[in-house]
């Protein structure tokens, strides 16, 4: 039976709420009629509205409340329908959650998982589409997870919830309807989350979150062109484990990083490049390429976003450049660039 990313999140939340009677979930919209894009369906019905509660529009306080609950007896999952709103809570995140365990000498840790949804398309515009994973990765004390497929969403959300440290769990809104055949249950104690999605010789493509789905959708075209590539999906951005990447690079000696949901400067992409650059054991045959969003806020208009967002064409072109040969590919001209699928009718 197929399961969507949103259903996988929902399943993980149900199981963890059942498993740990102390776990609490809260957020603005958690109990709305659509149930937080379907991810919190039946949660309140099952576990009551003391453990699953709606909040006032008070992002900073609610983050602190989450810290308080979780240093006391109640680990929690906090959620925000847009990452952008969470900018109000940076004091509690950085000065409290991230540092608590350390600055109080290791006596209390903060088992909080913070789900942040990243918007795209349908005019989300400058303040409803930001994805700040590199901010979070910069802060010691936080972990950062960004799964791309339902299985990882499920397993990583479970391990994040069980992690005694604060975990930022970022979901791209366009992933919610992505399906996989079934859920394979992994060991939920570890933040797994780096894996090989395709195996080849000539090129290593690294991606995460929505970018991974984009690369997956190009699989056939690349196959038809005899492009033999390693495709690595990296779902745990902090702590960043690049072993798989580095091993791959020793073989392919060519690197393309596809990070279509981040601005370029001081990004996860830059960080990965710099770590590869610093490593003595890796010598590339060609300069790597990093694809990211332009260093410009997201525009609202349908017309502008078309070129603001990274097109498949651009990814194909980058591969051509690295491999130094032309590829043949058909782009679906009926595809609309600002919706995740044909049924999506906005607004969020």
């Amino acid at each position: 039976m197929a399961i969507t990313f949103a259903q996988a999140i929902n399943k993980a939340l149900h199981e963890e709420m059942k498993r740990n009677k102390n776990l609490v979930c809260f957020g603005l919209g958690i109990n709305d009629p659509l149930r937080f894009f379907g991810t919190t369906k039946n949660l309140k019905e099952k576990f009551g509205d003391e453990r699953v509660f709606e909040t006032p529009t008070s992002e900073n306080a609610m983050t602190g409340v989450g810290v308080g609950m979780s240093i006391h007896k109640n680990p929690c999952v906090m959620m925000h329908q847009r990452l952008d709103f969470f900018l109000l809570a940076m004091d509690q995140l950085v000065n409290s959650a991230a540092k608590w365990h350390y600055m109080f000498g290791g006596q209390k840790s903060v088992p909080i998982t913070i789900r942040l949804i990243v918007g795209k398309g349908w005019g989300q515009g400058p303040t409803h589409s930001q994805s700040l994973q590199s901010w979070f990765a910069h802060i010691p004390g936080l972990k950062v997870v960004m799964p791309s497929l339902p299985n990882d969403a499920y397993n990583l959300l479970k391990s994040s919830i069980r992690d005694p440290n604060p975990v930022i769990f970022i979901e791209h809104r366009w992933l919610h309807e992505i399906e996989e055949k079934k859920i394979l249950i992994k060991d939920s104690k570890k933040n797994i989350g780096t894996k090989l999605l395709n195996k080849g010789r000539d090129l290593t493509i690294l991606s995460y979150s929505l970018s991974t789905i984009e690369i997956l959708s190009m699989k056939k075209a690349l196959f038809d062109n005899n492009v033999s590539y390693d495709h690595i999906d990296i779902a745990t951005l902090k702590p960043l484990n690049l072993n798989l990447l580095k091993n791959s690079l020793k073989k392919t000696k060519k690197l393309l990083i596809v990070d279509t949901i981040s601005h370029p400067i001081c990004s996860i992409g830059s960080e990965i490049l710099s770590q590869v650059f610093l490593d003595k054991k890796i010598k590339l045959k060609k300069n790597p390429i990093l694809i990211s969003l332009p260093d410009i806020p997201t525009p609202t208009s349908f017309f502008y976003t078309k070129d603001f967002y990274v097109s498949k064409k651009k990814i194909f072109n980058s591969i051509e450049k690295i491999l130094e040969r032309k590829l043949r590919y058909n782009l679906d001209l009926n595809e609309i660039h600002d919706v995740p699928n044909k049924n999506f009718k906005g607004p969020f």
Binding site: D32, P56, L87, P294
Partner: protein, 322 residues
């Protein structure tokens, strides 16, 4: 404004807002206005009365549900439509969308999409007005959820200690998205009393008679103009459509049809029309004519969108920095 003329103007403004919003609602489902859009249908009286109570050089600033405030301050409706469609001719060049409106000439300084985000910006403008010895005021529109964000209290505090010429117009429509006020704030909280004890001057006005509301607001504005000090005005109101988008939403179950119908029965535009007739300020026929005039203008503004061309990303690529 000529004596009694304001009656007509308020009515015209209410109608203009209603018909503009209806136009958007009706056409939204063609999926060409692709951005989150919060309509003010049901709340027009507040915008109309407060907008007309401001002088041209007064400044207003608003939140995500801001079409009405933009229009009420004289904002260009063609540019509003163009903004929703994402054309370069939009009031924000299509970059901002429905939640980021601006009309610099008309001194509608901005609306923004993050709850309470525009509040301190409005207060800063007021500080600047004071520094420049301008005799103008800033009108800051907020929703009821704004009182849940700390920045509201911080901003109001600063406005009080600096005695700034700001008027907060709080449109209390009881809901924040799907959540009723009683689940977000203390049950017996009275906004105007809270404003008082924070140190501002609090008022509770009603929308049911927009003409009366206008006069009350006008009086308050003149007071603030003379003796700059933050005033906070709560006006209970109600949105007829869903939180974001063009549809009815009582089927979702978070509010009842009977609640909605109660407010619809007291629709302020109907009230205004009836009032004008009753008080013999306008005849029924004149009103109908005015309605048609307004409708025609809006139709023509909307139709003009067809003539606009798709803009290109490179048109705005250099806009990040000035």
């Amino acid at each position: 404004m000529k004596k009694n003329n304001f009656y007509k103007e308020i009515y015209r403004l209410q109608k203009t807002i209603r018909l503009t919003e209806n136009k958007i609602a009706k056409n939204y489902k063609k999926y060409k206005m692709r951005c989150p859009t919060h309509l003010s249908i049901g709340q027009e009286a507040v915008a109309a009365a407060s907008g007309l109570a401001l002088k041209n050089n007064d400044i207003s600033i608003s939140y995500h549900r801001s079409h009405a405030h933009y229009i009420a301050k004289g904002g260009n409706i063609k540019k509003l439509f163009a903004e929703l469609f994402g054309f370069k001719e939009g009031c924000s060049k299509g970059v901002g969308g429905s939640m980021h409106l601006i009309d610099v000439k008309k001194k509608f300084y901005a609306s923004t999409a993050i709850v309470s985000n525009s509040i301190p910006v409005g207060v800063g403008i007021a500080y600047s007005l004071k520094l420049n010895k301008q005799k103008n005021i800033v009108c800051i529109y907020i929703g009821d959820a704004s009182l849940e964000e700390g920045v509201f209290y911080e901003s109001l505090n600063f406005a009080i200690i600096k005695k700034l010429p700001v008027v907060f117009i709080c449109e209390n429509n009881f809901y924040s998205v799907y959540t009723h006020l009683k689940d977000r704030q203390p049950k017996d909280r009275e906004f105007y009393k809270l404003a008082n004890s924070l140190g501002a001057k609090g008022y509770r006005l009603r929308q049911n008679n927009p003409f009366k509301l206008f006069k009350e607001l006008k009086k308050i504005n003149e007071k603030v103009r003379k003796n700059p000090f933050p005033h906070f005005i709560e006006i209970k109101t109600y949105r007829y459509l869903e939180h974001c988008g063009p549809n009815d939403d009582t089927n979702l179950g978070y509010r009842t049809n009977s609640e909605l119908n109660k407010w619809k029965k007291n629709d302020t535009i109907n009230f205004s029309a009836n009032y004008l007739v009753k008080k013999k300020i306008m005849t029924k026929e004149k009103i109908l004519k005015l309605d048609q005039e307004v409708k025609k203008q809006i139709d023509s503004d909307f139709d003009s969108m067809k003539r606009l061309r798709s803009p290109k990303f490179k048109d705005i690529m250099k806009l990040t920095y000035r």
